[in-house]
Symmetry: C2
Subunit: 198 residues, 2 copies
DNA sequence: TAGGTATGTTTACAGCGGAAACATTGATCG
DNA sequence: CGATCAATGTTTCCGCTGTAAACATACCTA
């Protein structure tokens, strides 16, 4: 029997729904990411997801969670090839912004509290993994204003805010764009050149 | 006649709808901002907005536009009281972040390309007014990496990215919060202390 | 004062998320 | 091995949403 028999049970519907959701985000953006559209793409009735997700927001949250893992990976890939700590920092920043510009709808979803449940444990874990990349790399960075309490955490927040703000503004079409449609300046040319003291 | 007579025509429905939308955003967040809910609050049929807005997204865009004007005002208010340019910069940053934390749903709407039309002329004008505050204040700021082409624009983008990123991460509940529910560090404590050379 | 246009209403409809009742599968346990 | 039951998927129905079309009212101007 060459034809794959259509089974009543899917096998791994939960994963399939998340994957389908990611694909829809790439093709149609956030507007197309409806429960019914995701179910239809998988070839399943629109109420089948109910067995795996408690409502659309739970599905969105699961998709965002997968997004955070991909996001962390995108950053880490560039980092490993960096020679100095500064190279690594800039590679992470570039990876952060590139991910946002390549997957704008997914990125928007990941950081929309109205769309996904940020108190979800799995989402938190994935987001932490993404954050951890910046955290490790920014450790020990020196910048004017760094001295004071909670220096390390404030350093992380400073770097994260800068890079995240650039990424968000870029996909929100707030930056004037050049001929290519991309912003006239990339993240790196907008990042202050701080140093590592030791 | 003490009772205000209900007129068939509203008089300034367009403005009333935008105001009602802003109120709903404060009370119920983005989820409650439906066309029907806005119309109902104004006391008008749910198709009446069609005469003033070409679809929900146009209404959302108009609400976001008003948000940008309020946002600009919130920043400017603090700025005028600042003595030095550095004081003004920090006041603008604080105003930027405070506006986001006080009106999270509106702020989210303002920067969601999936929800409002960023190519809209009126929106662009209001957004520019908001941007102009940071633009004026960051002019001449010195920072490591500033030298090079398009120095002034890159300076604006750097400041904007930093402040905007902080604001977005704060309302996305990405920052660990203290007991009050607010982030443990405010914008100012994660803003590098750059100076003005002259 | 007459007629046209701007503005608002009513009605209808398709798409959405969710609930409930039902069908099918697969796993557990005698 | 067979019966039962939980897990998973379907069907059907509901209320809510945005949109369109036909209609009603009020204003404005010639």
């Amino acid at each position: 029997m060459l034809e794959k028999k259509k089974k009543y049970h899917h096998g791994d519907l939960r994963t399939a729904l998340v994957v389908a959701g990611l694909e829809i985000l790439e093709e149609d953006g956030l507007d197309g990411l409806t429960l019914r559209a995701v179910a239809k793409r998988v070839g399943v009735s629109h109420t089948a997801p109910k067995n795996h997700f408690d409502g659309v927001k739970a599905l969105w949250t699961a998709i965002a969670t997968e997004g955070f893992w991909l996001h962390a990976k995108a950053m880490r890939d560039g980092v490993t090839s960096g020679a100095t700590r500064d190279d690594k920092l800039r590679a992470a920043a570039a990876g952060y912004a590139r991910f946002a510009s390549e997957h704008p709808a997914l990125f928007q979803l990941m950081f929309s509290p109205a769309l996904c449940e940020h108190r979800d444990a799995a989402l938190g874990e994935a987001a932490s993994a993404s954050y951890a990349v910046l955290r490790e790399i920014s450790a020990g960075l020196d910048w004017p204003g760094a001295e004071g309490p909670a220096r390390q955490e404030r350093t992380e927040w400073m770097v994260w805010s800068l890079v995240h703000g650039y990424a968000m503004l870029a996909i929100s079409a707030q930056f004037p764009t050049g001929e290519s449609g991309a912003p006239r300046h990339d993240v790196l040319s907008v990042m202050p050149k701080f140093g590592y003291p030791d």
